[in-house]
Symmetry: D2
Subunit: 420 residues, 4 copies
């Protein structure tokens, strides 16, 4: 397949230089269905990025699409601020019945605005309000968002520099396996907390991703997460799990922390929660933390009702039983087998992952970009992650078929070979 | 009409205490069209709030609805990150042709994420990056959003307290008419800037709303805005106009600053830019400020393509000629006449406004809430604003008919009378 | 008199570029007595600067010198940390009997370290601790010191820039007469405090100088100070008077705020408190504010016992009766008469002052420096102050004789004439 | 010996609750000579605290006393701001000839104010100004002072809480041996610096004590200091050695970092630099860092000329040859032998130290206080240090005789035994 660079003129002349994905994927996309996108010239692309985890059920999933069009056709409320609506009620009841109750999770639900960073900002605000302390601990290579509160707990130096002000009130700690197992977990963190002379401002909360997506597909072990939860309890800190990219089934269970058997104090969800790629996010927390005053946090688009409709439909379609989780784990194994084989042939590469999120790291960061570029030429959308963009990130829709997955993995293998 | 309190149970038991509008409007809304909403019991409400300015073209506007359904039906890209898409190109071209070129505005366009606070955060980041200074001046009673960057330039003490950290790097200055004309404009601000001993950290930028919506419908005079622009030029500060609530025609022209004849350095748009109430926002800036590195600011939902579709449709339908502006000013006059009469009868009330945004202030703040509560009983959605919620805010859709407007104004007048 | 530039070599080669007074006064001083210094070449200088207010009783005052030498001879404790010593007890008892009791001032006394900035840092810490708020209001052209806490409430942009970090948690308000009487006192400040939407972080305290020495000899009227005290009470803010330069009799009474009849919540003293130019400072506060834990603030040199000895001797010698205050006011009148005459001849100059602190402002800032330079040639030490160094500052020892004062004033008048 | 509690009334009624040493040593001290103090009742105390390291040459050292009295008698300049004086020149020349030149140290000398915290504040300002970054790395259990800049890099949680504002711009790293040698030096620090995703704000500088006095007599190994210096060079950070307590010969050499063979970029000195316990401090830095503008940092008492006189006398008397260093190391060995014996008998105690600074740590922190209390009853001044006051600190004057040292060590041993 040959890709002719499309006419990008208005993007180049009018859109800001800040644009980025469109640079690596120089096509003008037009339509999409399931795991495939089509550009305006009719070229088809298999999607191993899934909207950075926002399209777990594929592009324009027909079940959700039907519900969405029906809702729009009948003039259901579109923009609802935080008014009570029938769509919001249906979502809340479904979320309670399908997700919270079966998992025995006691959370209250907050609609903090439609994007992940809104959810993180609200989580941080609440934790600080509850504990009366301003400091929050995050982890090396964490990514939590681009507004100032979220950016202060994000690791990437390039993105942090964009703040234009010193980012303070956050302290990084080593993520799981940061020293390849040579240092006991939490040695440094716990010592700082216990030593009254350490100079660490006592944190209100710890914010963590169970798998760091932007940070390079760094997978925390369940025992590490459990030890973190225990540390938080011992030290009177709240545990916030940012499940924006890894939640909604990406790692198997609906929440990525289920496998570890922990119940975080606060959880953020976004990306795939609406199921259809529509902006929506949630902040969940234990009822005793719900000390918000009415309106203390607000936002114009926190009632994006079409998203509530597709979200409820997605929960009913995919989470009423355990099928989705099983399928995700099976697909994950399919990826693992292929990566084993690919890395066996390519000694400068290694891989890791969980569920349907996998990373393939190259010793030479430029190689990861080369692999993605070659994959794009071959019709596969792949992105890098990690502090030096040294990791090729596999994030296909959960609903991908084994055949599509196989096709994409073969293209990946070929891209690795052809960039050697 | 009698309103029976609806069954709100799941909202009360599951949703966080932070919910607010649903408390003043205890109904479960189901459908909406134009200026009217219907609750699940079939009661109809006339909407003088318009999604806090997000529904300038009314609920579920049929022209936009058609375009939206067509797009969804044909599986147009829904979630596009910042990839080039045909929908995005159509929006950019329309925005350029219908809005920017006719007004001779040179702006580059950035998609900073789908909500207003994303746009404000990106504007503040850019201004700080360009000028290499961290301080920003905002105005008394400003409202710019709830994430930490935006909240630091927001005036409301209750919302600021929610931050849980000291909000710094922002300094408030008096908005137009803060001292009822007794003090020359910018006396304090300019003196601080010119006095090397003043203690004011030199600001990178000034952020301003031309009409403060949340702050109590405080209207800046065109000459004040012009003087502010000149002050910014003299003192090497960027001028950011936050046009999230007042842009998209709310005050007459597409941008609220057109009347003053100024060209801000940076402009934020959101709320009604998608036209249909879908989350979308823009940050516009002069090309010489476009020093962003690719990906230096990003966000999952900054490519909400269905919003691009309705946005382009709205621009074509309403802004290809000057009709909308004329109509808005005419409707505004209709409001003004009524408020003149209402305030003549009610000596503790005064009013102010511009275009289709008006405020009626009561000496007793409780009265404003009482008026809104009575209006709700009578089937009219009205909200308060101002630091003590002392202002009844009139924000009907721009597409409201004269008859609907008259009906709502009569209900308002009755509510004022009946709460005397 | 002709001054030959002295051999400054080791100062120029070894001492940092940060040195400053030695640049304007290129002599190597050797001895001093009363109002006169002598350089190593035997040239004599009349001192109208008095160690920036640290030598109110003149250089090497014989009464204090005797007490100091006696104390050193008998091996009295020199360095005492915050141990109880006989010298400290003598000072505390004298301070209580001679200063606090006759003025009915209820203060507790803290030794925060030996310099003014230590006292200011401790005052700010205590105010924040008592009120549980981090923000402090200072005034335009304030000077409170060079460590980070004090610098954040200091106005001078050049000195602030030296911090290397953004200085936050402080907000400047207009000092008395900042707008030449055209704006009511505290119009802006009080409005910000009362408006819940103003964006001002509620301050823990207000810190003020009654006469701004470094800021350009700006004199606050007693009624302004009283109104400020009342505002602080109404708004639950502590009033800190920084009396480091203006206290110890500089304006007439021992404390500069006595004339206004107010009792600040916290007072800082330093400079002339030891009387002999030895490092010493005090932080005074109302007993109900004394919520310090033992050792919560400390410092190696807060027990500089030789300074306690000279301090007690100075209080006994000069403050046991009202003579010093009367004399200071009389000398001040002598200055005022001369400045009246000088300014009558020089229309680009104006003057202001109180007690024995006076400023002569020139329209052309360079002129003020020229006057000081010429005065130095003529054997008179004079310094400039103000944000542009536009004010010649007169700060002679309080113990200066009328003849010396007259001599200096004649030299000043000549310097003004000869730089015209 | 029996100590009757002295009449402390004025200290209790008038002095702030913040006082601390006077609580542990309830005597009113009157005179002192060498290693001995005498209280007003004639009781004599042997001093193993030496003004927290400010009295390395003993109390009221006769050589310095002679120079001081001569200077005062002849009316030498007392208070000199930063004017050139003969006393300052003599000090600068002596410092250059006796200290800097023989050690081949290229430093410029700054007089930042008379106390240690002034020196630290100036060092941090300069480092930030030179590097254009705001962040500074300090170490666990560091102590650098009580003004806000210094406090932000100090570890003690109790003292930090006194700030009343969040202390930011500083990040703690593990001091040498923080994990008992189980973790490679700088593993965590270097990894954070090299990982672009770590979230660490790139530091302008690292500030370190070679032996942490307040932190519990934690001794950094020379190889750790060398590795730190190399890390700073590799990572473009300035190395600041805070030698306020450990400099002036406390560890043997004049500077405590000499043994490690490193040349820090910036050095702070205070405490014993004047030799006589008079307030004085220095900030030393490499000439290429001297980018200060004249007056950018200032302070009233940075020209404490009597301190210059005693400082020059001390350097000439004790540092013209290597005798002092040899003697200190010999005395240190005397302490080490005793502590070995004491700890052999007391299994819950351990010890460490260098030169003439030693610490004896007890498993039960209360024991350390009990030892000091018993020692006081027996006429020996001893203080605790460490985050839980668990370390008895030995800090005798360097000029102590072997007999006095032996006497004090025997009292210590007895106090340990009697508190078992």
């Amino acid at each position: 397949m040959t890709i002719t660079p499309p006419a990008l003129s208005v993007f180049e002349t009018l859109e800001s230089e800040v644009r980025s994905y469109c640079r690596g994927w120089p096509a003008v996309f037009d339509r999409a269905q399931g795991a495939r996108l089509t550009d305006e010239d009719g070229h088809s692309y298999l999607d191993f990025f899934a909207g950075a985890g926002s399209l777990n059920y594929g592009h324009n999933n027909p079940v959700l699409k039907r519900a969405l069009i029906d809702y729009i056709e009948r003039d259901g409320i579109t923009h609802g601020l935080d008014m009570a609506t029938t769509a919001k009620r249906a979502f809340l009841e479904t979320f309670q019945n399908v997700i919270l109750r079966p998992r025995d999770l006691p959370y209250k639900v907050m609609f903090p605005g439609p994007t992940g960073t809104n959810a993180v900002e609200s989580a941080l605000k609440l934790a600080r309000k509850v504990k009366g302390r301003e400091s929050v601990v995050s982890f090396t290579n964490a990514f939590h968002g681009m507004s100032l509160g979220s950016l202060a707990v994000t690791g990437n130096a390039f993105k942090r520099a964009g703040a234009g002000i010193p980012l303070v009130h956050g302290t990084p700690m080593p993520f799981d396996n940061y020293f390849d197992g040579t240092v006991p977990d939490f040695l440094w963190f716990e010592r700082l907390l216990e030593d009254q002379g350490s100079g660490l401002n006592k944190p209100a909360a710890v914010i963590v991703e169970t798998v760091q997506g932007e940070g390079g597909i760094n997978v925390a072990r369940p025992e590490w997460l459990r030890a973190l939860k225990e540390l938080c309890e011992r030290q009177d800190m709240l545990l916030i799990v940012d499940d924006i990219q890894m939640g909604c089934g990406r790692t198997g269970g609906f929440f990525s922390f289920e496998e570890a058997g922990i119940v975080p104090d606060i959880v953020t969800l976004s990306k795939s929660i609406s199921g259809y790629g529509l902006p929506m996010s949630l902040c969940l927390f234990k009822p005793e933390l719900d000390i918000w005053e009415p309106g203390e946090h607000n936002g114009t688009f926190r009632g994006n009702n079409p998203a509530f409709v597709t979200a409820a439909a997605a929960l009913q379609a995919y989470w009423a039983d355990g099928q989705m989780e099983k399928q995700t784990l099976a697909r994950g194994e399919q990826i693992e087998q292929t990566l084993l084989a690919v890395c066996a042939e390519e000694p400068t590469a290694s891989f890791r992952g969980r569920g349907l999120v996998w990373g393939m790291e190259f010793e030479d960061p430029a190689r990861a970009s080369a692999v993605c570029a070659r994959a794009f030429e071959l019709g596969l959308l792949l992105e890098t992650s990690g502090p030096q963009s040294e990791v090729v990130k596999l994030l296909p829709p959960l609903t991908i078929t084994p055949e599509e997955l196989d096709e994409g993995l073969r293209t990946l293998a070929r891209s690795v070979r052809e960039t050697a």
